[in-house]
Symmetry: C2
Subunit: 462 residues, 2 copies
């Protein structure tokens, strides 16, 4: 078939790429206070892009953290309303020395655009804005009603949007939410993600002696904050990788047999995955669970970072007074973040070694989310993907967390279509993050086509 957006893409390739590069040059790292100004600049870029493509109302909603950007164009009475979600903030780029080209100087290599945020999520989010532009170019008026809610705190817990959504149910009312912040299962394999893991992200701080002590004089009697934290963390999983915190698996449901069967049909080579994706000598994780189950349908316990004592060059013989770790538990559907946090706190209290005090601070939490592949909005999305890519759409889950997806279900009562255009080796959160340029254009086409198809979709669920 010939898509209405084809000439828009054909005539705009270079311009569309350069506009995205301009967006990617803004180092909008939400977790680093020194980049607060850049995060704001990115919000302004988003707002201005939305105005440029003719969205009727565009607002920057400032708050205590980084602003939300809202826009709407309600010019299709009686037609469905789509709420587009995305985020304009990015992860820190460290370790910097591992980037081939600088993270905030977007560079094209081998058909991909390399930059922090290229795939997660600036590049993908931007395709929604450009889809509106494509529709305006081919028809003038949008075929559906469109709302945008774009945040700048996705990588730091999404505090502003978490508060905003329940407080603005009427304003945000829609029939379906569209999120492009996931990946395709494989190149040229259009993919819809039906579930995301949630997360409890914490900082654990251990205190031992009142001050750093000389390990010669006090080694043998003084509790060591680093070792105390190490002992406690090691107790959280057994050697096989099974989480030892009581209650942690209590509400975990196994995926349906049909879903597991469909995962088994996905092309997957575990040796290849180990060697080229993970890059190690062995995989870890719960025995008896497949890679898909372990990464999509099981909770995990990870230490993202640890620090304490002397770590400079050479040696310093201290017994450290303090140590800190960043710890997360990924959640699967039906797990309640606050219940899990309570279980963690109880475990920590019961298992902290003598002489050590450990404080567990919650940094952010979100439940998992899930949608049925039979919902009309999902079926139409699958059709749009198939018609642009010329391949059948596969349904997968993702192990990542998009906290807003859970909030959309809870407060707006609508399904979220997770239509991702990233690729598995895009290096999200890693050095040399990239986004396929071909997918960038196809994503713009898919989203605009989806909006066209949605205009004639009966949204009543079968």
């Amino acid at each position: 078939m010939t898509l209405n957006s084809q000439s828009f893409i054909d005539n705009g390739r270079e311009r569309l790429l350069e506009e995205l590069c301009e967006f990617l040059r803004i180092p909008s790292i939400s977790t680093l206070p020194e980049h607060k100004g850049d995060v704001l600049k990115a919000a302004e870029f988003v707002a201005s892009s939305l105005r440029d493509v003719g969205m009727e109302t565009v607002e920057i909603i400032a708050g205590e953290g980084h602003p939300l950007v809202y826009a709407e164009s309600l010019e299709a009475p009686g037609k469905p309303t789509v709420l587009c979600y995305g985020h304009y903030d990015v992860q820190p780029p460290d370790p910097l020395d591992q980037w081939v080209t600088p993270p905030f100087e977007p560079t094209v290599r081998n058909g991909s655009l390399f930059a922090r945020g290229a795939a997660d999520d600036k590049g993908q989010m931007y395709t929604h804005i450009k889809a509106v532009e494509a529709l305006r170019a081919s028809g003038g008026r949008l075929p559906v009603n469109v709302k945008f809610l774009i945040e700048g705190e996705e990588e730091v817990g999404g505090e502003a949007i978490t508060a905003y959504v329940p407080a603005h149910r009427d304003k945000l009312a829609a029939d379906v939410a569209l999120v492009s912040d996931t990946a395709m299962y494989a190149p040229n394999t259009p993919t819809i993600c039906t579930a995301l893991r949630g997360m409890v992200y914490m900082e654990w701080e251990a205190a031992g002696p009142a001050r750093d002590l000389h390990s010669g004089l006090y080694g043998g009697t003084a509790p060591n904050a680093v070792f105390g934290l190490v002992e406690l963390l090691a107790k959280c999983k057994d050697a096989a990788g099974v989480i030892q915190i009581p209650g942690l698996y209590e509400s975990v449901r196994a995926p349906a047999a049909a879903e597991k069967e469909s995962w088994r049909r996905l092309p997957f080579d575990e040796a290849e995955y180990l060697a080229s994706e993970v890059g190690s000598t062995a995989l870890t994780g719960e025995p008896g669970q497949s890679v898909f189950e372990r990464t999509w349908a099981r909770p995990t316990f990870e230490v993202h970072g640890i620090g304490g004592g002397f770590t400079g060059p050479g040696g310093k013989t201290v017994i450290p007074a303090k140590a800190t770790a960043k710890v997360s538990i990924r959640l699967v559907p039906d797990q309640d973040p606050q219940e899990i946090l309570r279980a963690v706190r109880e475990f920590v209290a019961a298992n902290t070694p003598a002489g050590i005090q450990v404080e567990v601070r919650e940094l952010h939490s979100a439940p998992a989310s899930m949608v049925s592949p039979d919902h009309p909005a999902i079926r139409t999305a699958a059709q749009a993907l198939e018609e642009v890519f010329g391949q059948p759409t596969v349904f997968i889950r993702s192990g990542g967390s998009i906290p807003i997806a859970g909030d959309i279900t809870k407060h707006l009562g609508i399904p979220t279509v997770l239509m991702g255009f990233g690729l598995p080796d895009d290096g999200l959160h890693s050095p040399n993050e990239k986004f396929s340029i071909d997918n960038y254009y196809k994503a713009i086409q898919t989203v605009s086509h989806y909006f066209e198809l949605l205009a004639t979709t009966n949204m009543e669920q079968a």
Copy 2:
């Protein structure tokens, strides 16, 4: 009794203190490359001080690391020769924000001088130089032959002196070595230390996946370098604090019954030690061993620092590719550092979790050392202390490491008198390190009196 040095001290209090302050203002942090110039400046200060007090030969011996300072005055033919050892380098002062006054701006408070290096070891080492000055002031000629060998790498493994001593046995030949780099058991309790622990200091580096990975996408399958290192470290000790590395206790001898008995007579309040020295809620360490045994006569395993993954403010959801820990094992007499290192490497190889690689790098090592309290040089030292302090001398051990003490025994075949003037709460290696000003003056008097007494001591061991 009236000491010959009394008027020297009485007339010089302020000058002697100011001269030490000048020395302490030099931030001679040997482990930090950016302070290399300061370490050299401290060496020059020592050499110039030695010349000022009339030492006949003074050399700065440059090498690859920080220089040694050597000096001698052999003007007492037929009399014993004393080799004075000390070090002019200091530990890093971090955490800086915990210092009441800046570490390199010596400040007097409550009868103590606060500065990094005040007790460890600049202040104590300097008393040997000032003792020579005191003797010159009262008599002109030194009553014994005196050699100084002062290093600038004690806090980083003492590479230069370790090579220098065995290569210069004739030059360094002496009857006794004098080291003031330990503490008194309690205020106004003259103390000689009869044994020091040795050490194997290592850096352990763990590698997991080839690069930092997104914990949403790979959490559940990818080995985590931080968690792998945590698991490995936790296996090194059991919950009671007993080291689990096979062979670690093999050559450990229990202290003699008489020595243990003398330790039991030392005034010691465990609750007070826990509350005011350690500053925690419980002590750790091997069950069935007293605090003195655990800190003086048992090996220990400590993690001095750990780092890996994301540790900045906020959250970053990576599975870290690398993690590093600084690890030491303190050694007691009869343990061989290289045998212990072999045992560690075997344990690490056998216990590293799947998917993780751990490299053990030796940063520095030294055996423990020990001396008999019945040696004439020790008995005379005890007498000098008693006559200056007016209190009986107690014999203790120290859990710290002074690597040169083992080398002196091995290569020069002479006993080392560990005559310390520090106090247990001096905060070595910690913020707010201090040195008692009264002990500073008494140390100068004790050392000069010791030299006088040594002139008439029969050094043949009974």
